[in-house]
């Protein structure tokens, strides 16, 4: 029996998540096999709909790599993201989807190791949850 390989969509802020992903790649760190990276100019660019659409379109889990709070280049992008992720989680609860399928992680440009650790932990967590029943 093949092991469930969860699909993860990772939105990455170009000020933090993207450089962290590039560092992880440079260091040749282990990354999930079924990963789709979506670079965004700022995590505040991510609308609630993007998060739901990712789940609707086949993701088993969605993560957002954003800058630390009070460290947003555009001042409040990551704060706006927090509100939108909260709203998406409310909608997911109504659908009956587990909250763990959507999560924000704050990283810095040099967080290559943390970046991969988070993703590999997310793979384990999603394996326990099983496939997204709403995709």
């Amino acid at each position: 029996m093949s092991i469930f390989d969860p699909k993860i969509v990772a939105f990455c802020c170009e000020q933090s998540g993207v450089p962290a992903a590039e560092m992880a790649k440079t260091l040749k760190l282990k990354m999930p096999d079924n990963l789709e990276l979506v670079p965004v100019p700022c995590s505040g660019r991510i609308e609630t709909l993007y998060l739901l659409k990712a789940l609707e379109s086949g993701a088993d889990g969605v993560v957002v790599f954003a800058c630390y709070e009070e460290n947003c280049r555009y001042l409040q992008g990551n704060i706006r993201l927090k509100g939108r992720v909260g709203y998406a989680k409310q909608i997911m609860a109504k659908i009956g989807l587990e909250s763990e399928r959507l999560e924000i992680f704050h990283v810095a440009t040099n967080s290559g190791v943390k970046f991969t650790e988070i993703l590999m932990q997310k793979v384990d967590q999603l394996r326990q949850l099983g496939p997204n029943p709403a995709k």
Binding site: L49, I95, P133
Partner: protein, 223 residues
């Protein structure tokens, strides 16, 4: 503008249960401004409904369209072709838009996706408050631009009741007393003397909804 809130998700799921293909029709006017039924909010609801139905093992196809103003016949009629392809319509416009669709598409079931709540103002991003009850005879010129009909729990016309305390209403302690607001604004405008004029009782049975649904007819505009 008209303010609305999305209906409980379970309620919407329940009345869409018999259908396999629907149109989710938003409105580009009032409900867009209050983030209840515009293009974005409609898309969010459609996505959530599709996922919920897949999870239930009863997938649903949802077409999406957002006319500029669903309550205007020329915009509502733009939906004619799309409505011909679906079994039912979920309208996330206000109750007026729902009824416009019901009038123009008599053979199609039209369901409301929002509860139309009040006519109000955006007081902060994401916060809306009631400001007008369409009473039919505006008295704002007598009350410093603050409406006691919409904003006083008792709709008092000539000053506050005994329940006004420290500028707040006894019905809801977090709500400002409308008559405190009227007094404060009149004072700051140097117009306190206006408040000594008695405002006569409103003719509810003549001017307002109490006499049944109202209409406005402009003969010069009829074609």
């Amino acid at each position: 503008m008209i303010k609305a809130e999305q209906k409980p998700f379970e309620e919407i799921l329940e009345y869409l249960a018999p259908y396999g293909k629907i149109l989710l029709s938003g409105c580009g006017a009032c409900v867009t401004v209050c983030n209840a039924g515009g293009e974005k909010d409609g898309a969010l609801l459609a996505s959530a409904l599709r996922m919920a139905r897949r999870k239930m093992g009863k997938p649903i196809e949802i077409l999406e369209s957002t006319p500029a103003r669903q309550c205007e016949p020329e915009f509502a009629q733009e939906l004619t072709d799309t409505i011909g392809k679906v079994e039912a319509v979920l309208s996330v416009s206000c109750g007026v838009g729902v009824q416009t669709l019901a009038r123009y598409f008599p053979a199609t079931q039209i369901f409301p996706g929002v509860n139309t709540t009040f006519m109000g103002e955006t007081v902060a991003h994401g916060v809306w408050e009631e400001r007008c009850q369409a009473c039919g005879n505006c008295i704002l010129e007598k009350t410093a631009g603050i409406c006691p009909i919409a904003r006083c729990a008792k709709q008092l016309l000539n000053g506050p009741c005994g329940g006004s305390s420290k500028g707040k209403c006894e019905i809801k302690r977090e709500t400002d007393c409308a008559w405190q607001l009227i007094y404060d604004r009149s004072k700051s405008l140097g117009q306190l003397h206006r408040l000594s004029a008695i405002i006569p009782a409103k003719q509810w049975g003549v001017e307002s909804r109490d006499s049944g649904p109202r209409s406005i007819v402009r003969e010069d505009l009829k074609v």
